[in-house]
Each structure stands twice: as C-alpha cells, then as structure tokens.
C-alpha cells in the first residue's frame, strides 16, 4: 500500500525541492529499524587516534576544504558545516578510511556552478571511504566519482543539476567505477545527462533506498558483477533502471544482477543525452532495460506508466571488434512484478506499428529475440510479453516478426543476496 501511495505522491509534486523532502520522509523509516543494532558497532570502527577536521563555507573554501581532504589521515572525519561552499575547482580525496560528512543533503551544499577545472565535483581514489549527509550541485562533469575505491559508502547524499534535465548537465551523478564492494544508500540524484546513479566495471554492489529523478538513466549497472538494486524509486527519467554491458572495456561480461522491490514509474522525460553516448539510444518511456548481460533477475518491483515498455531485454546493436565481448543477454528471469500501464507510445523504430497491430499498446515486457530460444528470458509476470523475433542482434527493429512469449511454468533458484563487509553497513547505522 505504501508503494502505491508514493506513486500518487510523485505525480503530485513536480517541485524538485519537494522531491528531496519526500526522500527524507520515506527512507529514514527503513533506517530506523536498524538503529538499535548499529549503535554498538559505531564505537568499534573508529581508530583511537581519529580526529575531526571541521571545515566551514566562506572565503577560501576551495583551498581550505582541499587542504583538509589532503591533510586527513586514516580514521579521520572531515566534517563540513552547514551552508553553501562555493567551489572553483574539483575536489579529491586520496586517503584511506576517511569519512566526509556534512550536516544533511539540504544543509551542506558543495556548489560547483563556478567550477573552472577537473572532470568531476568530487573524486575519491582511496579505499574504505564514507561520504554522507551533503549535496553536490551543478558540477561541470560528473558529480561524485570514485575510481578504484574499494568498500566505498555513499549515504544520504544529494547530487543535483538544479536546472533539471538538460543536455549541458554532467554525465553521472554518483559514479563508482573499478571498485570492489560498493554501497549506495539513501541518495537523491537529479538531472544527470547520462545516469543518475552509475556503477561501472565494479563487483559486489548494493544500491538501495535511493531516488533518481529526471536523469536520462535513473540507475545504471554497467559491465559489473554481482549487484543488488532494491527499494529504490526511479521516476521521471528517460529509463528507470538499466543493466548494460559494453565492448572494448577492461571489465566486460556483466552478470548476476538483481533488481527487486523498486518503484519504477513514469519514466517519460524525453531523452536528453548527448548523441554518441550509449544511453542516447534508450527509448523515452523505458522502465527496466537489460542489455547484453548474463543472469539478471527482475522481481517484486512496481513498474508502470512507462510509455515504451516496462521491461526490455535486448542485445548490443552496434558493430564492435572485440572477441571477448558477448552482445547478447541471457538468463534473464522476471517474476512477481506489479505492472501498470505501459507501451502507449513506444519510441523505437517499428514500435508504433507493432503497438497498432496489438490493439494500440505495446506489451509491458519485450525481448528482441536475438540468438533464438536458447536466450529466451524466463517470465512469470501477469502481463503480455513479446519477442520481436529479430534474426540477429543488429537487425532493424522495423523488421520485427513479433510473437508472444508464453509465461514460464518454472524458474531457476534465485541468486543469493549481496553481502557487504560488516564495517560498511556499520558505518551508516
């Protein structure tokens, strides 16, 4: 019931500030349940020598904050006061076991609207870092990037391009890459011209209790292994949740991704990604899109009001030279999702014709059909599903030979839940 009430809430609140407030109302209920257990652990994880370095906004904030991030030693907390830090350059953290903590996602704001250099607002390149309770606004490139940063925790952050969906916004809001053990919990991301929350070339990942609004892709797991994406809200993006694998990258062969318990509704923002980026090809009105991955489970989600379709399973359609790359999705398993309206305005070649042939609406689930029955997804949802019957992955969708996909009578055992190191969970209790 709570989920359904939320859909109404989103529809009624176009004001972005209200969106963030709604996050704070929803998410802490989940956190509170864990508070009792957490209190005991907090004392244990802090080294004896740990100190707090306080930084306030105002004159010289750029250099003062950066010097604090450089001077911090393992175990330290860099505590950002409330207020607006007007920054002229990107920030970076390269010390292990440092917590950067603000006073809240609306209270402590790192404002990059005057940024003159660097490819992101904040870059983290060290391990065991916790980022929490602050906001990054209007960075010129990505919002927060962590590269090769194992066991990173993103908690109660807001990353936002305040002008809303614009092609001139940065690409990714929250952007861990090449990392092992990633926790993204209770963040809010708005306006990314690629993906709001993007996890790339990483393994052992949890994205939960977060909200992605008015990005091209709300949440994207790319070229990654072992991820749980659950209890998030993805709405008013172009596509809600994407699971992709791309060629010519150091880590390929994305697999073992579970998408469950999410609310993925009304992802109808016209695609505003700059052409050339892979997400520029995501049809407006996509709920979940799985491209070229192995073993993806989509279950227990509320998915609806997506004009192209609710769940799409496709291959990578572009030419590539990479013998190690597999462009086809396989072992995609879909069950117990709660669907509402989808497919009234499919935004891909041939979509309108298929919809017309089916009585005006495209089905809530479709697969491109490439590779044949060996690759057919296992579907146990109570909505019509369709194969486009494409003879190969590069075939024009306008040449589709659609055929219904029968509901599967059985499905394999589910993947195990992702378990993160206990210290990461303890850090946010």
């Amino acid at each position: 019931m709570r989920k359904l009430a939320l859909i109404g809430y989103w529809a009624a609140t176009p004001n972005p500030a209200c969106n963030y407030h709604s996050l704070r109302h929803v998410v802490p209920m989940r956190i509170r349940e864990l508070l009792f257990v957490g209190a005991a652990f907090c004392a244990l994880v802090q080294p004896a020598s740990a100190k707090t370095i306080a930084v306030s906004p105002g004159e010289g904030a750029q250099e003062r904050l950066h010097e604090a991030l450089i001077a911090a030693e393992p175990g330290d907390v860099v505590e950002l006061a409330a207020g607006r830090f007007k920054l002229s350059d990107g920030l970076s953290l390269d010390v292990n076991k440092v917590t950067v903590k603000g006073q809240g996602g609306l209270e402590t704001i790192l404002d990059f609207s005057g940024q003159q250099g660097a490819g992101e607002g904040l870059l983290v390149t060290s391990d065991d870092v916790v980022l929490r309770d602050f906001a990054v606004e209007n960075s010129k490139g990505d919002g927060i990037k962590s590269k090769g940063a194992d066991r990173i925790v993103y908690h109660k952050l807001r990353v936002e391009w305040t002008g809303g969906p614009l092609a001139t916004n940065g690409a990714y809001g929250i952007y861990p890459v090449e990392s092992k053990d990633v926790l993204i919990d209770s963040v809010f991301v708005r306006g990314a011209s690629d993906a709001g929350i993007y996890v790339g070339q990483s393994r052992n990942i949890v994205v939960r209790h977060s909200t992605a609004v008015e990005n091209v892709a709300g949440i994207e797991i790319e070229n990654s292994f072992d991820a749980d994406v659950h209890d998030n809200i993805a709405t008013r993006n172009t596509g809600g949740v994407l699971v992709f694998d791309l060629p010519n990258l150091p880590q390929m062969g994305g697999h073992n991704v579970r998408i469950f318990g999410n609310i993925i509704v009304n992802n109808m923002t016209p695609n505003f990604a700059p052409k050339g980026n892979i997400v520029a090809n995501v049809p407006t009105g996509t709920g979940v899109m799985v491209m070229a991955n192995r073993r993806v489970e989509v279950f227990d989600n509320v998915i609806g009001e997506n004009g192209t379709t609710n769940i799409m399973i496709v291959g990578y359609r572009f030419p590539f030279q990479d013998p190690k790359y597999d462009p086809l999705p396989r072992e995609v398993i879909i069950w117990d999702n709660q669907h509402s309206r989808a497919g009234w305005d499919p935004k891909f070649r041939g979509g309108t014709e298929i919809a017309a042939a089916m009585g005006g609406s495209f089905p809530g689930i479709f697969w491109d059909g490439a590779g044949g029955s060996e690759y057919m997804p296992v579907i146990q949802d109570d909505v019509p599903a369709l194969s486009l019957g494409l003879k190969d992955v590069t075939a024009d969708t306008a040449m589709a030979q659609p055929a219904p996909l029968a509901r599967a009578t059985s499905r394999p055992d589910g993947l195990p839940a992702i378990i993160l190191p206990e210290a990461m969970e303890a850090a946010i209790r």
């Binding site: 750029q62 250099e63 003062r64 904050l65 950066h66 010097e67 991030l69 450089i70 001077a71 002229s88 350059d89 990107g90 970076s92 953290l93 390269d94 940024q115 003159q116 250099g117 660097a118 490819g119 870059l123 390149t125 960075s139 010129k140 490139g141 990505d142 590269k147 090769g148 092609a167 001139t168 916004n169 940065g170 690409a171 990714y172 952007y175 890459v177 090449e178 011209s193 690629d194 993007y198 790339g200 070339q201 791309l246 060629p247 010519n248 990258l249 150091p250 990604a273 700059p274 052409k275 050339g276 980026n277 892979i278 572009f318 590539f320 030279q321 990479d322």
Partner: protein
C-alpha cells in the same frame, strides 16, 4: 616485461651518503615533514632564475602542453649516487633524488615570471609530489598542497591571452603521476630527453651504456624528426598517455594512448565513448578515421569547458598547434581502418 638493467645499484650508496651530507636537500627530501618553503631544499639560490649548480637541467623533445607555460626542468641526485635506466629507457633515480619543474611565462622585461615549482621527491617509501607557489618578490616559494589559481596574461602568436592558471593540488599531482595507485615520474624517458650540458648526458650513458643504442623519440612539432603518425602518437603519449594507460587514472575508459594499444579500438579509432556525457559533442566515435571534425578526441582538445576539455587538468587554453597535428593525423587515416 621491463627489467632493471643490472648496473643500477646505487641505492645503498645513496642512502649512506645522504645521511652524512650537509646538503640541506638530503634532509628536506627524506621527509616525513613536507618543507613549507622551497628554499628548504637549497635547489635555488634566492630565486627561480638561479638554480643550484648541483641540479641537472634538461628538456623534453615532446613536452606536455600546459597553457603555453614555459618549463624549466631539473634533476637532483644525492652525492655519490647515480642515475640508472631500465630497458625501455625510463630513468631510474636513487632514493634521495628529486625532479624539479618550474612553470612560468616570459616577462615583459625579459626572463621568465615563474609562478610555481613542482617537486617530485623520491623518499624511501616511494615518490611524493608537492607544489610550491612563488611569492610576489620571487625570493622563495611556499608549499600549497591545496593548489591555487593565478590569473596570468601572456602573448602567443601575437595575441594576448589571459588564463586562470591552475597550480595543481597534491591529489591532482597524483592523478597524472600515478601508476596502479603509486606516484611515479612521467617525463624522464631517455629517448624524449635533451640535456643542456653534454657532460650530464655522458655521465648517465656511462652508468647505463644500453641507453646509447636507443633512438630518440620524434619531436611532435618537427617533421624532420619523424613521420606524421609517429609524431601524433608521441604527442598523445606525452599529453594523454599518463592517464589513458592500463594502470592510469583513465584505465576504465578502455582508451589507451600510452603506446600500449594493440588494436584500433583501444587507440580510439572507431571506438564509441563510454562515460563522456556531453563531452561526446553529439559525435559517435573517439576517432572517426579521415574525419577530424567527427572525432570526439578533437572536440575535447578544442574545448576549454571543464566538463568537456581533455586533458582534464592543467589546460584552460586550446593547444592550437597540437590540435592541428592531430587533425592532420586523423584526416590522413583511411576511412576504412576500422
């Protein structure tokens, strides 16, 4: 595999002599405290224009572009220690060494207005990178681990250009000077170096004779030193290859410009962008062979917008001459090379 040429065994000698030396540099370099002023090292005699005779000055045949700044490069090696080299020509510096690089612009009165001097210190635990910004009176420079920006106006090609020159912070130093998470020197590769005092080069070759057999790399802007393809690749290697390497800061891009690329895609030819965002400029490929105007690589080099510009650090003007070289290189590629 790179292997260390066996005659480079100066470590012990370096450590032994540095402890006994009365040279202030030995203590300043050893750490662990980062000296607050550049004068603590004794590298300069009261000003950037007066380097100590102990320093070995050198230049690079193809340098990194840094907003048209002029650079003065020096090597400091502790008494009794010796520079070596590996089989690829990369110089090996004993513990206690330092690499020193000053950045500045020609002064109207002649000479160079030096803004900053960066040092790379080879401590026992590894390399440390520190930026020092010169005071207004030019007599000393102060450590600025947080970096800073300095407004600069200079003349290039008859035009006055104004830039907000960026002194990198300590982390940004590492962003480029990084291999698998450790700080490393980038520039001192024998084939790309030119020594201002012939005796310095002779001394290095005497200790590492294999260097004498290595052919110098082309100068990016001198067609007598190499073919277009060689000069373009050398430009990319020096300007991009420190991050765009399998162990570098941009490893996740799969775009490798450090000379390690084995196929066309890893060099960017026919490769689609991964995380470029708006930097794609609505184009499909990093390099569209035969079509520089359709190549994201050119678009990003021609931009000064921090969300688009490449390299990400140290450039707020366009390197017109470098762009021209790479435009010619891409235009010369047959359009069916991928």
């Amino acid at each position: 595999m790179r292997f260390v040429v066996p005659f480079v065994l100066a470590f012990a000698a370096a450590v032994a002599t540095s402890a006994a030396s009365d040279d202030p540099a030995a203590i300043a370099i050893a750490g662990p405290q980062n000296p607050a002023t550049l004068s603590s090292f004794g590298f300069f005699d009261g000003g950037a224009a007066r380097p100590s005779a102990r320093l070995i000055p050198y230049e690079l045949r193809t340098p990194l572009f840094s907003d048209y700044a002029a650079k003065q490069r020096f090597i400091y090696v502790p008494d009794g220690a010796q520079i070596g080299a590996d089989a690829d020509g990369r110089l090996i510096f004993p513990v206690g060494s330092a690499l020193i690089k000053s950045f500045g612009y020609p002064a109207k009165s002649g000479g160079l207005n030096v803004i900053e001097t960066r040092v790379l210190l080879h401590q026992a635990q590894g390399w440390v990178a520190l930026p020092y910004v010169w005071r207004a009176d030019g007599k000393d420079a102060d450590l600025r681990v947080g970096g800073t920006r300095v407004p600069v106006t200079f003349t290039h090609g008859g035009n006055d250009l104004s830039v907000n020159y960026s002194v990198p912070n300590k982390n940004q130093c590492k962003q480029c000077h990084s291999a698998a998470g450790n700080i490393m020197p980038i520039g001192p590769v024998w084939q790309n170096m030119a020594f201002l005092r012939p005796a310095d080069a002779r001394a290095i070759v005497k200790a590492a004779p294999a260097l004498a057999r290595l052919q110098p790399y082309p100068k990016w802007d001198d067609s007598r030193t190499g073919a277009l393809d060689d000069r373009a690749r050398q430009y990319l290697k020096v300007n991009c290859g420190h991050c765009h390497a399998p162990q570098g800061s941009a490893s996740n891009s799969g775009l490798f410009l450090d000379g390690s690329a084995t196929g066309a895609a890893a060099l960017g030819i026919g490769k689609r962008p991964v995380a470029a965002g708006r930097a794609s400029g609505d184009l499909d490929f990093i390099i569209a062979p035969g079509q520089p105007d359709q190549s994201i690589l050119i678009k990003r080099m021609e931009s000064t917008d921090p969300g688009i510009a490449m390299p990400e650090l140290g450039r707020s003007t366009v390197h017109e001459e470098g762009v021209e070289l790479l435009r010619q290189w891409i235009a010369a590629m047959p359009s069916n090379t991928h």
